[in-house]
């Protein structure tokens, strides 16, 4: 494996440090971030949270960080001596998506923008495998990498004031699922009946960074049936 790129260290608050890797996001960098995050949480008692981005980690300590140079050196040493399990791939999840126009308000306009048929947009989207890079923006919002370049598009000029919960959308080089209603500037191309964030569960979000997602196209009838199952608490997703 190539030598790991080192990170930059920013103290942004007495208790908080931002580590940034000056490297284009990739699956190998993702694996390093996920591994390092676990290592740090196990190592430092005062570390209460580590948030991840495409190329960064934010470390929140419960107390001000003393002896910053020593701490910085320790982090570098931990990172450089860390071993990464290249075979680890995380879980694979299949998310049912209904691409019916009634649930996909931007499918037509997006297809026009991309100069593709609607069915082509659906095929390309549903045949790709996506990697969960991290979770952020909203509880349960998965940042998915791996959008085929044919589907890349700028964000909507005017964001929609309300995107429905479960909406699958595309924006820039990314695709994602809105876990709950929120304003949003991405193009909505489908909807999943599956609940994405359940605070009452031990693991409120079913996926974690490093997992993979595939979308499975379902009909409107199947969508309605699954929505009904969900209302009865019978909709459970299992890893593949």
């Amino acid at each position: 494996m190539d030598k790991k790129t080192s990170f930059q260290f920013f103290l942004i608050h007495p208790n908080v440090v931002l580590l940034e890797w000056n490297e284009t996001p990739s699956d190998s960098l993702l694996l390093e971030l996920v591994t390092f995050r676990k290592l740090l949480l196990n190592k430092f008692e005062t570390l209460i949270q580590v948030t991840q981005g495409y190329q960064s980690l934010m470390l929140y300590h419960s107390h001000p960080i003393k002896k910053r140079d020593v701490y910085h050196a320790e982090l570098l040493s931990l990172f450089n001596s860390m071993s990464v399990d290249l075979s680890s791939k995380g879980k694979k999840w299949q998310i049912p998506v209904c691409y019916d126009p009634s649930l996909a308000p931007d499918l037509t306009s997006l297809a026009e923008l991309l100069k593709l048929d609607k069915s082509e947009v659906i095929d390309v989207h549903a045949n790709a495998t996506y990697t969960v890079y991290f979770i952020g923006f909203l509880p349960g919002f998965l940042y998915l990498n791996g959008l085929p370049s044919a589907l890349e598009c700028p964000r909507k000029k005017q964001p929609s004031p309300r995107v429905e919960a479960g909406s699958i959308a595309i924006g820039g080089k990314q695709t994602g699922i809105y876990p709950r209603a929120s304003p949003g500037g991405w193009h909505i191309i489908g909807k999943t009946p599956y609940p994405l964030f359940r605070p009452e569960q031990k693991k409120p979000c079913f996926a974690q960074a490093g997992d993979r997602i595939v979308f499975k196209s379902i009909s409107l009838e199947e969508y309605k049936e699954m929505t009904y199952q969900r209302a009865n608490g019978n909709l459970i997703i299992q890893p593949q």
Partner: protein, 250 residues
């Protein structure tokens, strides 16, 4: 929103500093007490009526069973914190006793809702303490340099550190958008972590100060970071309130 006031209210009753409190923003509710209880108040001063009669604003109030306490408008600042002995016994969800949209059933308290407390442990009434009505909240908000501070020009740094900024009508527990704008830019960053107090600089020049309920990631440059004191101080301001940034070292 204002941790200093929250801790102060709890300290007045000898509570652990993070015991659950009521946050009353701009104006407060009318509370009916089902048992005798001592309450503590900190933060902004609100008009108070005990059993319908206006009373002096106090930090500690002993309330009897069946009495009502009504909170009116804020007289200074924007948010008042009400603590009870042992804290409010709200449900713990994902490790927190707070309410949050999409996580707890409701994001705010509702009419006729019953709030549970640990109950009063002391029989004797403590002396009622008078609140500082004349308290004013500072206009200087301490900030540190953010991770993307280097994106700012000399001119913009000067603006940020010497001019007055105003909170726009777009403000909430998630973020405060400022009225004034900096120059538009084209910096495009990969989405990364943000935290309460992070000041974002959007492509069209807007400045957004993330507050306590902020999201955890963002793609806009993070030019400044409010200190804890800065967030607590800003929390006592709202629409059209002016303030100034004060750049400090960590």
């Amino acid at each position: 929103m204002d941790h200093t006031a929250m801790h102060e209210a709890n300290a007045l009753l000898g509570n652990p500093k993070n015991s659950a409190v009521l946050e009353m923003s701009f104006q407060g509710p009318k509370l009916l007490f089902h048992q005798p209880l001592q309450i503590a108040l900190a933060g902004a001063t609100m008009e108070i009526r005990l059993n319908g009669k206006k009373i002096k604003p106090l930090n500690l109030i002993s309330v009897e069973k069946n009495e009502t306490l009504q909170f009116g408008n804020v007289l200074n600042g924007k948010r008042t914190y009400l603590a009870v002995e042992g804290g409010f016994q709200s449900e713990t969800v994902l490790g927190s006793q707070s309410q949050y949209e999409g996580v707890t059933k409701y994001a705010t308290l509702r009419k006729n809702e019953i709030l549970h407390t640990a109950g009063s442990t002391q029989n004797q009434k403590s002396k009622n303490l008078i609140m500082e009505v004349a308290k004013s909240f500072k206009n200087l908000i301490p900030v540190y340099k953010g991770p993307d501070y280097a994106l700012l020009s000399e001119k913009e740094i000067k603006r940020l550190t010497s001019e007055l900024f105003t909170i726009s009508v777009q403000n909430s527990r998630m973020a405060y958008v400022l009225e004034e704008k900096l120059t538009p830019h084209e910096a495009s960053l990969w989405t990364g972590p943000v935290m309460p107090g992070t000041v974002q600089y959007t492509p069209n020049g807007s400045l957004i100060i993330l507050m306590r309920d902020a999201q955890t990631t963002g793609g806009y440059p993070r030019i400044l970071q409010l200190s804890d004191e800065g967030i607590n101080c800003l929390a006592q301001k709202s629409t059209r309130d002016p303030f100034q940034f004060e750049l400090v070292e960590i």
